[in-house]
């Protein structure tokens, strides 16, 4: 079974829970696990994401396919036992059994999930400093985990994560799939998952021992686990120590957690402490120049008075080294000398991103840049997973004015990121999208003019209109999909909500060589009467996509009265032809 099919199943079950989810339940475990076994890492992490949403995918906020299948699948892919779903640290090692390993992937998945929820709530309420703090801490945790930490530390991070998750306020309404484990009192929820996992003893059937992770998988965004190639990994302060130091009183000592208190006894509101501890740990360890890790970089720009600015120092060193070379731009010098610059391209830049290969200086500044850079990878990856529902397209190129003033951002973050994260861009994009949708229409079949039809989604009647130029009746704001007419806006909204569209679209696009483009994208006919003004009148700096979007916003299909801009009705063509005659 392919991923798109899974998304379909996912969408159907969530949207029309009865009776579909129940129908799928009997075979969801083998279906999921068999597919999971066959797909690549990338797809696996997508499936893991989806699996996490199933925890609360049912209309009542419970497991979409029931607790049994949920636990079985999670144990099978993330390793079983106590680290699995519903198992809290309080139960680790219960009954003297061996503690099952926690996989990095599992921790990362849960981290990402919680992080994305916090980010969403932050987006809705940008002044929520608590949420901001949560997001910061979670990002730092993530970097720690990704850098590679011990099994005990992983477990600790997982426990902390769940504790944090519980302490968080419920995400805003925009996050419909709020996992139950995040919200109400944790204690009552525990009994739902009997401590002895016999009820859910599945794995053997699928060749997956419950007690160990069967796949050494990594989410697509994390670098291969090569701890030895990361010079700083070894000197990383142990996460557990870090966490213990701050949340001291009630923290569970790693690995010896058998008798320690349940989640509810972990101080939940000590997030500031945790944060500052991360920072502190980083600062402390950044002095020797080697470690980076999460907090290490959070405060590195605080150069103490009297110290040499490491960035400047490195630059000066570089400049001296470059200028000291006796090389002239002559045929002879170029071909005869031994190049001396190679170390400056490799060894002298000792912090390397293991995703794309970019290198940064080994000093604290370089490490801060690396951290920002890794953060960007992470966000881009998640963004890629949260496709807005219509697939991607190529924007119009940047115009002269914007190009001239494109600020060279050579100090850290890539431009791509800056452009794509701009909040305005998102708002404009949404508007443009809506305008484009409203402009689309479907021709009414002859004879059906009088027949009222309603949108299957909102049940409202579709408005029809006679287009003078086309000499035909059309339904406005309409699309035809599988022989049914929807409001274009409703349909797009529905697609967005389950990501189905994105997948279908990219699937189709990948086969595009044999498919005509009409089938690929919404077919739109330019509006009559309305006029698209030049991009020039509205300028959105530094955002080509934004600019494009603006061009699109100018469709005023629903607004034939919009004033026609000067020159709009007279394309420059006319003037040109006349003047060429002169």
């Amino acid at each position: 079974m392919k991923l798109p099919a899974f998304y379909l199943l996912d969408a159907i079950s969530k949207n029309v829970y009865e009776p579909y989810a129940r129908h799928f339940t009997p075979f969801i475990i083998p279906l999921f696990l068999e597919t999971y076994e066959q797909v690549d890492q990338n797809t696996r992490s997508k499936m893991e994401e989806m699996l996490l949403t199933w925890r609360t995918g049912a209309p009542n906020g419970k497991e979409l396919f029931g607790v049994g299948p949920q636990v079985s699948i999670e144990r099978a892919i993330w390793g079983g036992g106590d680290s699995g779903y519903g198992a809290d640290a309080s139960r680790a090692g219960r009954g003297g059994t061996t503690v099952a390993p926690v996989s990095k992937a599992q921790v990362l998945s849960e981290l990402d999930f919680t992080l994305s929820q916090r980010e969403r709530s932050l987006q809705q309420n940008p002044y929520d400093t608590t949420a901001q703090n949560h997001v910061n801490v979670l990002r730092q945790l993530r970097t720690l985990v990704e850098a590679g930490v011990s099994q005990d530390e992983l477990r600790d991070v997982l426990n902390q994560l769940r504790a944090l998750a519980r302490s968080m306020p419920a995400p805003p309404a925009a996050a419909p799939q709020q996992p139950s484990y995040q919200s109400p009192p944790p204690q009552p929820s525990v009994p739902q998952y009997p401590p002895v996992p016999t009820t859910f003893s599945q794995p053997a059937t699928y060749g997956v021992p419950a007690s160990e992770p069967s796949y050494s998988h990594q989410p697509s965004y994390s670098p291969p686990p090569r701890a030895e190639t990361k010079p700083w990994a070894s000197t990383l302060p142990p996460a557990s120590a870090l966490l213990q130091n701050t949340i001291a009183p009630a923290t569970i000592p790693a690995g010896t957690s058998a008798s320690v208190a349940g989640p509810s006894s972990i101080p939940l509101n000590n997030i500031e402490n945790l944060f500052s501890a991360l920072v502190k740990a980083g600062v402390v360890s950044s002095n020797n120049g080697t470690p980076v890790g999460a907090g290490a970089t959070a405060k590195v720009e605080d150069v103490k008075p009297g110290e040499v600015d490491p960035a400047r120092q490195t630059s000066q060193e570089y400049r001296r080294a470059v200028l000291s070379q006796k090389i002239k731009l002559t045929n002879a010098d170029i071909t005869k000398q031994r190049p001396q610059v190679v170390p400056f391209l490799y060894d002298r830049l000792s912090s390397q991103c293991k995703q794309c290969g970019l290198r940064f200086a080994g000093n604290s500044i370089g490490k801060k840049k690396l951290e920002e850079h890794l953060d960007m990878h992470f966000r881009q990856n998640r963004k890629a997973g949260q496709n807005v529902g219509r697939g991607h397209s190529r924007s119009w190129f940047i115009g002269v004015e914007d190009w001239l003033h494109e600020i060279s951002d050579s100090k850290g973050k890539g431009r791509a990121d800056r452009r794509l994260t701009a909040k305005e861009a998102a708002v404009v994009a949404a508007k443009e999208e809506e305008a484009a949708l409203r402009a689309s229409h479907v021709v009414v079949p002859p004879g059906d003019e009088a027949k009222p039809i309603s949108c299957p989604i909102c049940k409202e009647t579709l408005q029809s209109e006679f287009l003078e130029d086309e000499e035909e009746w059309v339904w406005k704001n309409a699309v035809k999909k599988e022989e049914r007419i929807y409001h274009a806006t409703c349909h797009a909204e529905a697609l967005k909500s389950n990501r189905l569209a994105a997948l279908m679209r990219s699937e189709k696009a990948s086969r595009s060589r044999s498919v005509t483009p009409d089938k690929l994208s919404l077919r739109t006919t330019p509006p009559r009467g309305g006029n698209s003004d030049a991009d020039g009148s509205v300028r959105v700096p530094a955002s080509p996509s934004t600019q494009t979007r603006f061009a699109g916003t100018k469709r005023k299909a629903d607004d034939p009265d919009s004033p026609i801009k000067e020159g709009g009705g007279t394309p420059p063509l006319k003037k040109m032809t006349i003047s060429t005659a002169a």
């Binding site: 731009l329 794309c356 963004k383 890629a384 190129f397 050579s410 890539g414 509006p527 006349i578």
Partner: protein, 499 residues
């Protein structure tokens, strides 16, 4: 240098052990793809470092070289091919590379950048034997001498130094097409290494709405449209566009590091030799001069061409540093049909995004440094009225029949004359034509002039896929859903249709 072939038939990966300063070169046939993984050591492709353990995917007849300064081991996937599993059509290890010379050129350019920055900042001058001017480099060379590769390596080295450089990479070779489609000339500021993966985006990729990490996959070039692959077709127009582009490059607002980074200009082979290019020597020199003036060139690198080096020294020697640099033995002769196919890949990539199937069994693959799934784009097919779009052809070849000319016009149209194309007339030759959609003209009517379309930048490329003359409509393949109404486009001599 081949260390051995895997004995497992099912996974015939192949390892190559490369000695320091050697390179593994490969050329892919149409329809095949290849993945290369760095196992040990350090390696780079055209100046961009590989991360160990990542499978770098190549396709669309990519020809590339994995070079190592320090020595390395790389692993090649089996080729993904429609017919069979096999090796690249050409692959070998070469111990003769010009990389040492290129690295020395890079050092010399770095010296200038450092000095330029010192000068801008008013820092004490540490060495006045090096001019305190940002390096502004024109790269010249005959066909298949590796001009683009040299430009790419020098750019990549600059952005890898960690000094915050962001050189402007300029492409004035319309046959190459730079970042979009053939026929364009363009310039973009680059601040992360350009990753090689396909012939469709040798200079990196232009921004789309798809999220990417490397800014070299989201470049923001400025484009002008020449519309033909050969400089000889309309040298006057070339000259004008080069100067337009140069003016904008010089007008750009930049921070001191960016200014100090300088620029690197890739040129057409026609600039190097009149043999085969159809350009007369004086036309050639005029175009080179246009580049020198437009970009305020202070260094000319001539690749492996004694005669041209001497010629350049004679013309520019007093004020410009003219240096001959060696040519790579890895550069291959490219025939005409290859170029045609590459143009096809470029167009397809422009509309649909870069899409290369990784070879079987390759996981954790990266294409152009990004996860492989995220680069697919969905273009739009739009039906528009003839009236929505004003289309022009530039110069004589647009010559309309006498009857179509405005009263009083003479037949002698200049090479620079924009002539309106009427889609309703037979012989408009619009079907399958690539049109450059232009930026809006000056909103102030008083500021407009006859040849304004020549000086407008390109916002995108569209293709006419169908004409319905009776209802005066045409179908357009457009990269996005943006409205075309009221816009102006130029048609050149490039056509494209989807197979």
């Amino acid at each position: 240098m081949e260390s051995g072939q895997s004995t497992v038939a099912a996974v015939p990966t192949k390892e190559w052990v490369l000695e320091p300063e050697t390179e593994y070169r490969f050329e892919l046939d149409p329809g095949t793809s290849l993945a290369v993984k760095l196992i040990r050591g350090q390696a780079e492709i055209f100046g961009t470092e590989l991360v160990d353990g990542k499978a770098y995917v190549f396709g669309q007849e990519c020809k590339a070289a994995v070079f190592t300064w320090q020595g390395c081991t790389i692993e090649m996937s089996p080729i993904l091919s429609l017919c069979t599993l096999r090796c690249p059509s050409t692959e070998y290890v070469s111990e003769e590379t010009p990389m040492a010379a290129y690295a020395n050129v890079h050092t010399a350019l770095e010296q200038r950048r450092v000095r330029a920055l010192q000068a801008i900042r008013g820092s004490p001058i540490s060495d006045d034997s090096v001019p305190a001017e940002p390096p502004r480099v024109l790269v010249l060379g005959p066909a298949n001498s590796g001009k683009t590769t040299v430009c790419k390596i020098l750019t990549n080295y600059a952005v890898r130094t960690g000094q915050g450089w962001s050189p402007i990479l300029v492409n004035v070779d319309p046959n190459e097409g730079g970042w979009a489609v053939p026929g364009a000339i363009s310039a973009a500021s680059v601040n992360t290494p350009i990753v090689t993966s396909s012939t469709a985006n040798t200079l990196g990729s232009v921004a789309t709405s798809a999220p990417v990490t490397l800014s070299s996959n989201a470049l923001l070039p400025l484009f002008y449209w020449y519309g033909h692959k050969e400089a000889k077709r309309n040298p006057l127009l070339m000259d004008r566009l080069i100067r337009n582009l140069g003016q904008n490059v010089q007008d750009r607002n930049e921070d001191p590091e960016a200014v100090s980074s300088g620029l690197i200009v890739d040129t057409p082979a026609a600039f190097a030799s009149s043999t085969g290019s159809g350009l007369k020597d004086d036309q050639r020199q005029v175009l080179i001069k246009a580049c020198v003036d437009a970009f305020n060139i202070n260094i000319i690198l001539v690749i492996g061409h004694e005669k041209l080096t001497i010629e350049m020294q004679r013309i520019f020697g007093g004020r410009i540093n003219v240096v001959k640099i060696p040519k790579s033995g890895g550069v291959v002769e490219l025939d005409h049909s290859y170029r045609e196919r590459v143009h096809g890949y470029q167009l397809h990539t422009y509309m649909y995004g870069l899409r290369i199937e990784p070879p079987l069994g390759v996981s954790d693959a990266t294409l152009g440094g990004e996860p492989i799934t995220d680069l697919t784009l969905a273009p739009s097919s739009l039906q528009i009225s003839f009236e929505d779009l004003a289309i022009f052809r530039i110069g004589e070849e647009a010559m309309a029949p006498q009857s179509a000319l405005p009263i009083g016009a003479t037949r002698a149209l200049s090479e620079m004359q924009p002539v309106a194309v009427d889609p309703a007339k037979g012989g408009s030759r619009l079907i399958n034509s690539i049109l450059a959609l232009l930026a809006p003209p000056n909103p102030d009517e008083a500021e407009r002039y006859d040849e304004e379309v020549l000086d407008l930048t390109v916002v995108g490329f569209i293709v006419v896929t169908a004409l319905d003359i009776p209802s005066r409509k045409m179908t357009i393949l457009s990269p996005n859903q943006g409205s075309l109404a009221g816009r102006t486009a130029i048609v050149g001599s490039f056509e494209w249709s989807e197979q």
